[in-house]
Amino acid sequence: MLSERVVTDVLLAAMSTGGDFAEIFLEDTYNTQIRMLDGAVDEAVSGRDFGVGIRIFQGLKCVYAYTNEIDREGLIRTAREAAAALHGAPAGRAVVLSRLAVERFNPVRLEPQQVPHQDKVEVMKRAHLAAAGFHHQITQVAVSYLDVDQNVFIANSEGLFVEDRRVRTRLSINAVASKDGEKQSAFRGPGRHMGFELFDRIDVEEIARDAARSAVTMVNAAYAPGGKYPVIIDNGFGGVIFHEACGHSLEATSVAKGLSEFSGRLGQKVASELVTAVDDGTIPNAWGSQNIDDEGTKTRRNVLIEKGILKGYMIDRFNARRMGMEPTGSSRRQSYKFAPTSRMTNTFICAGESTREEIIANTEYALYAKQMGGGSVNPATGEFNFAVAEGYMVRGGRIAEPVRGATLIGKGSEILQKIDMVASNLATGQGMCGSVSGSIPADVGQPTIRVSEITVGGRKEAK
């Protein structure tokens, strides 16, 4: 996308005031977004994002600049403007670029840009019909479709010169159920790092009906009891608990500065021994997978916690300097408008040995969180919160009545210690994760787990 000559000149301009490392990230992204309400498309957007980000390090200082002007002149001007924030003499190092071939393990069969919009609309209609026809209490179905074709070029002063392509496709279904003037909604959003063949791999109708079933169940449910008691969190998107409560606190973004509750605790027991957790950016076609990260490092499978012992963090190139450790292929950004930093890819708790049925049968009283909503965490204090989208009470070893409106709060390190049962049914779910380097696709996952106690926010008192 850019010639080696121009890249070299821009990198040297970026380092002209004492920078010891410079990087160029160019992006040309095509995307399609279609929104359907009650079976009719009411909004469609075709877009092309295009720009360049230039990053410079000087020791533990980082400067980032970006622009849409990508001719030689515009790039050199942006590099110089960024360099003006640093003070020093050029190190006089030469830049010798060498082209790196990327091993592509996320094959794309049907490029979304080549698929007629009408085919995308057909899939959306199938989802609409399945959800809308599920039950008379379903009063509204919103379906949206997204495809993104991101072409990136990354080069740096250490000689890296690499191109990559990321194609992602996602369908989102939001079913609303109404009863006596009250409304409850349920969301499902299957997505993969692949093209339009996604719809040969997933059962659109089944997923849409599941959203509808969940909304109908919740509109007929009473409020969850509040208090501190056991919680069983189901497999799949339930993994958002690990993502929020622990994953963010294992990112170098907070670990490097000693701000995380997990800083300086490698080799220590931080979780119940039933917990092994991994961040793996190399799973073919998974939503959060990438051939290379957003600074050109190959992604890998990083073991974070093994049988309760803290084994590793997710580390980007800049924080690697502060930590004196190697980058782990975890550096990500929403677009060229963000400096990359350590983020999660596909993060999950590994399979254990129990079954869901055993866990429920062995529980006297608990909240069973069948579907989780989103959540957030303050990595400095470890305090997290997240919403239970579909919940049930467990009484006497059986699933009892459905409950709505529950929120789980707590501290990540405490929850990890309190996981006392882990099933073998590992599954994943797709989410968009927001943090300092923007909103990025990430898989969360886990088998069904039981936590001996969590503070459950709700409207009634427990028991």
Binding site: S46, V63, K120, L259, G375
Partner: protein, 451 residues
């Protein structure tokens, strides 16, 4: 290529491709963002970004496309992209392109003084913030995040019905988060400021408040679950208002996604609540001369002493309801289709100061932060259940800090159960949902889950 030249080319290419009407919405944004850590700049970001969004009508239907690169390829892409998008649109809604409002209000949305603040001054302010937070109290162990920034945006809109308007706006922001430590407990306190008036950027004050808040939370513990009287501090009241802003949108009402449907002229809130959207507010960060469709801005009451006066409209929803647009068409970005959002949206202040409200609370909880509004709150049902912390109040006095609780309730019930409105109106929060403000509010009861 500048915006006007691109517009001319897009209109020409679009008309020959059979597009019936075209509208270009373009922005150019200059941004500087600085963060420091332990006395040195560790993150410095500068950007110049631009983009053009095209809204076009083909066979009566609307399609959108956008680009960030302004060249000949992009003219072609915009026209083909918008046409392809229009071809699949099945919405029967009539969308009208605005020919112009005749006259536009004079609005102060750009400060020359602020534009003259140098990058060095922003860095110096950021360093001062960190120093001041650390100096404020011995128990402040670390400043985990401190940043400042400046943003300047030019907006340009033009369509084939003759509308052509533009304006520039700017604002600066500062944020500091301090960590206090004692007996193994870590507590964070943070303050965020976004303003156009540079004289309001007082490092000692902002950092002092963040540090004092962190320290004040040391020793926090939970409370027993139950129903409590609640004082929502102004920033928390504002955050809740921002979370439920979609319920006031006529689009949500028409689509059956707002429980305010059919409630016009009804009492929906305590008579103490008057809610205003004022795009003309002096120094308001959300102030604009016209909205995302080029309709002239005007001030309006949304709730007047508890009674719902109007929804927020753009041209499409206004036509459907047979009313005039309230000038609330929003384009959070050139990439976004026309939606609806408030500008400077606030609950009018009452008479009592914060300490008077604390006394008036009697026994209850002061909530100074809530977490999880993006997941634990449902704008459709109005239900929320959010992580929270604050202070326990007994006999009108703060007795201790409180952590690890949730507050749960329903936004519509909350509006009805406002018992007192403070005088401490403060604005905050940037982004697509507008500039929000609220005074502190006493709520007669919310469900609290603790131990």
């Amino acid at each position: 290529m500048d915006f006007r030249e691109l517009k001319d080319r897009v209109f020409a290419a679009g008309q020959s491709a059979g597009l019936e009407e075209l509208e270009v919405y373009a922005t150019r944004t200059k941004n500087l963002h600085v963060a420091v850590f332990e006395g040195a700049v560790d993150d410095y970001r500068a950007s110049l970004e631009q983009g053009v969004g095209l809204r076009a009508r083909w066979a009566g239907r609307i399609g959108y496309a956008y680009v960030e690169k302004l060249d000949d390829d992009s003219v072609e892409y915009l026209v083909a992209g918008a046409k392809a998008a229009a071809q699949i649109n099945e919405s029967a809604d009539e969308v009208e392109f605005h020919a112009g409002s005749g006259s536009y209000p004079q609005v102060s949305c750009f400060s020359q003084e602020l534009a003259g603040v140098s990058p060095e001054e922003l860095v110096a302010f950021c360093l001062d913030l960190e120093r001041a937070a650390l100096a404020a109290d011995k128990r402040v162990a670390k400043v985990n995040r401190v940043l400042t920034g400046y943003e300047e945006t030019e907006v340009y809109i033009a369509n084939t019905r003759g509308l052509e308007q533009g304006f520039a706006s700017n604002a600066a922001y500062g944020y500091v988060s301090a960590l206090a430590k004692q007996d193994g407990q870590v507590k964070a306190g943070s303050k965020f400021l976004v303003e156009r008036d540079w004289s309001k950027f007082n490092a000692a004050r902002l950092a002092g408040e963040a540090a004092a808040e962190a320290v004040s939370l040391l020793g926090a513990s939970s409370v027993p679950s139950g129903n409590y009287r609640i004082l929502l501090r102004s920033d928390v009241a504002r955050q809740l208002l921002a979370t439920f802003v979609p319920v006031f949108s006529a689009e949500a009402v028409q689509k059956g996604l707002s429980l305010l449907k059919g409630k016009l002229d009804a009492e929906i809130a305590s008579p103490l609540v008057t809610l205003v959207d004022d795009p003309l507010l002096e120094q308001g960060v959300g102030s604009v001369p016209f909205d995302g469709e080029g309709v002239a801005s005007r001030r309006k009451q949304v709730i007047a002493a508890g009674r719902l006066v109007t929804y927020l409209h753009n041209l499409k929803t206004a036509r459907k309801d047979g009313v005039e647009s309230t000038g609330n068409a929003s384009r959070p970005s050139f990439k976004s289709p026309v939606g609806i959002a408030p500008t400077n949206f606030f609950i009018e202040p009452g008479e009592q100061g914060f300490s008077d409200l604390t006394s008036a609370l009697g026994d209850g909880l002061v909530i100074i932060d809530v977490q999880g509004t993006h997941s634990g709150a449902n704008p459709v049902s109005g239900d929320f259940s959010l992580g929270a912390y604050g202070y326990l109040v007994e006999g009108g006095r703060v007795v201790r800090p409180v952590e690890q609780i949730t507050i749960a309730g329903n936004f519509f019930r909350l509006l009805e159960s406002v018992e007192a409105v403070g005088s401490d109106l403060e604005f905050g929060s940037l982004g697509g949902r507008g500039n929000m403000g609220s005074p502190s509010l006493i709520i007669s009861s919310l469900a609290v889950a603790g131990v």
